[in-house]
Point group: C3
Chain length 311, copies 3
């Protein structure tokens, strides 16, 4: 693959292995920018990037805002409560209005699955999915893959366990699609209410036994227990989740000696992960944050037409 062809990044599901690798290679070049004294490149100077966050998120918004800023783009932040969406404007009209203001890229987070996919064909502007409902969060999966590659040198053949709230997690879905495409052996683990057997159709192993999930893992990716998304009681209590599925010191000690700990953040210390485990040398949680910037710079650069990087 010589050139990036897509104007949008909507999800991992529709990407080819070549496209995923092209993005990951491009991100490597952008990672260097963060290490410079002047952390800026002029790639998107005079371009307008809109952060359209219909569902609030400081972390992802900040990461995209900094990625765009370091590419020298002009960034506008729009959040749901402040937006005219409360006046009953349709999402399509909001997006068309932004395009009429010459927005080059619209980064959208939305509580409804499919919102970015609905907008993309209606717009000349690039649409970047920053999380749509429980569907996809493609830049999170890319930064996770980038981090694994950086640390382990490969993805194919690795045993990668994703542990926690799989059912409601767009991070899980995007990771599953990406990691299976790149040849990892993916295990999903957690309570049966949050990790249904139906996920086996994606080519994953599903287990509800924590020891079974951790025994051979090269990478353990812990997902946050998202209280705010769960309207029904899907497990008896937080305390019981921690006892049954939390990554505590005892379980950590039984992992393979080079097993790596990941978490998309924000972490609940003492719930899905013990503080000592989160802060240990084999945890790459903060490196994931740093790599997120590099991946998002690559995505913004390539989708808005940049082509400096070859695979």
């Amino acid at each position: 693959m010589k050139r990036w062809q897509r104007k949008d990044l909507l999800g991992i599901q529709e990407l080819s292995v070549a496209e995923i690798n092209f993005l990951l290679n491009s991100a490597q070049a952008f990672k260097q920018v963060g290490k410079r004294s002047v952390k800026k490149v002029p790639s998107l100077r005079g371009k307008t990037v809109v952060n359209l966050f219909i569902e609030p998120s400081t972390r992802t918004r900040t990461s995209f805002e900094l990625a765009a800023t370091r590419l020298s783009a002009d960034v506008i932040n729009i959040t749901a409560n402040a937006s005219s969406l409360v006046k009953g404007e349709t999402l399509k009209d909001t997006a068309l209005n932004l395009q009429a203001l010459h927005a080059d890229v619209i980064i959208i987070r939305h509580s409804a699955a499919g919102a970015p996919h609905f907008l993309a064909p209606l717009l000349k502007a690039s649409v970047i999915n920053a999380g749509d409902g429980a569907h996809e969060h493609p830049t999170q999966a890319l930064l996770d893959a980038f981090t694994i590659l950086e640390k382990k040198g490969k993805i194919a053949g690795l045993n990668i366990t994703i542990l926690g709230d799989i059912l409601f997690s767009r991070v899980a879905r995007s990771n599953i699609w990406l990691l299976t495409k790149l040849g990892a052996n993916v295990t999903l683990a957690g309570p049966s209410t949050l990790v249904p057997r139906v996920f086996e159709q994606f080519g994953c192993r599903v287990t509800h036994n924590i020891d079974d999930a951790l025994r051979d893992a090269d990478v353990v990716n812990l997902l946050r227990i998202q209280h705010e998304r769960q309207r029904q009681t899907l497990f008896p209590s937080i305390g019981e989740y921690t006892t049954m599925f939390g990554l505590n010191k005892e379980r950590f000690a039984r992992l393979k000696p080079d097993a790596m700990i990941m978490h998309p953040g924000p972490i609940n210390r003492g719930v899905e992960i013990d503080s000592e485990v989160a802060d240990c040398e084999r945890s790459v949680i903060l490196e994931q944050v740093t790599n997120g910037l590099a991946v998002r710079m690559a995505v913004l650069f390539l989708c808005s037409g940049g082509q400096a990087v070859e695979s």
Copy 2:
């Protein structure tokens, strides 16, 4: 008129025809900036522009923010809830504090009519009215006029119908003042509770008959039914408004064949306008948004002392 003389743009009412034309001519030059690959000019580099929105508005705030950004100004956004106004500071003190921070331009939206006019003589900084109560919204009227001129080549002699909630609308007042100054024949239409006969004093025709309002119109400017502003029930129901005054396909079909459809947005699809009409070729709703940027760049540039453009 050789030079722009005002430091403030408070309303259309006090502008001369020469001043209106000077602004509209200047906006033409700035419209080109939006079409460039690098959408920036250095005109306001090192100047500080404050968006002081005491009444929330994403659309107008975003348009002004982008206009200032594309002129290379530094922009600060202040919205009501976050502001120290909640601590009981007076509006005058808030503005004087912003000036003490070397603000060059203060763009103000306020729920109280006259707020920008109160501030302007107290400040060396430029004051731009981004909407004050039900009084004026001058940049909206200018962008509407810009769009009509661009499409129709003139304003004088055109039959322009403004349809909807006139009584509570600053957009209507600013449009009425601008269009009558430039020689248009303005008709105001809608339910008698929202379109009182007293508006005839501004030199407009007032009618409560929709067919009468639309028959000879060259331009139809639809105003949003603003639920959020109406404390009393001024018409029986939304459904009845739509039936009686909505621009549906049947009414659209009876318009003059070159009649143009405008709306300041955000539109209520299926209320004051049918979806097909909003999206048809003769609707210029999104071009109004684009032109708003050009007009606001011209206003910011001229009021802060720029003089590159001659009439």
Copy 3:
């Protein structure tokens, strides 16, 4: 003192006299930037400054944002409600995440005293205290001292009265530490519930008699009565406070003829200060705001490693 050594500005209490003077001297150079037509210097180009305001404040946030912008830094604003703090992330994790995004400076306002001091040793990034509970607000004390020096030519030997809510005020504490270090005679005055005798241990005079407090004052610094911080009724009523301790025209007339009036803002006109007094020639309230920018530019510049200014 030849060079600034600290990466953080946490409070006045730990600063030496030489450090305070070094900061105040540096601020003088930056004050000139605000008077230029292009109000920018490239000192922090490509640096990332985060405004982390866990307690809301438009005034201080805006001042820091403009200070960073005029140094050409990239600025990210994070406020409490929008932040992932609501999802239960610890403050330490929030800060480590910002550092992982290559934040060079984290400006923090927090309702908990000591929050910046807790973060500083955990981070390579500079931590600037923008107000922590009722503890310190060092840049406010520095800008107050800068203003006194500018107007009075010295601080040592001046009689400086701080009047109002001392007990709950971080501004009072930082001012007391700074002014006594620099040799002023500091008097604290107000109702006994808000100005306890225990403050005498800081080397101040404490009085509950307004005439006694004002008689020999060269500078009167009025503190806001902060309704929002007081959970108990510490004085009978606002009206009684105004009668007993408000700086009205009669009291102002009995001051020394060159006594100067200061207030950190936002002012409550008619409560702690009469409107005529606030607006009179001897009030420097708005100059304090202007000087705040210069002081904050110096603090950001020096703490992030700049060394252009010698003492």
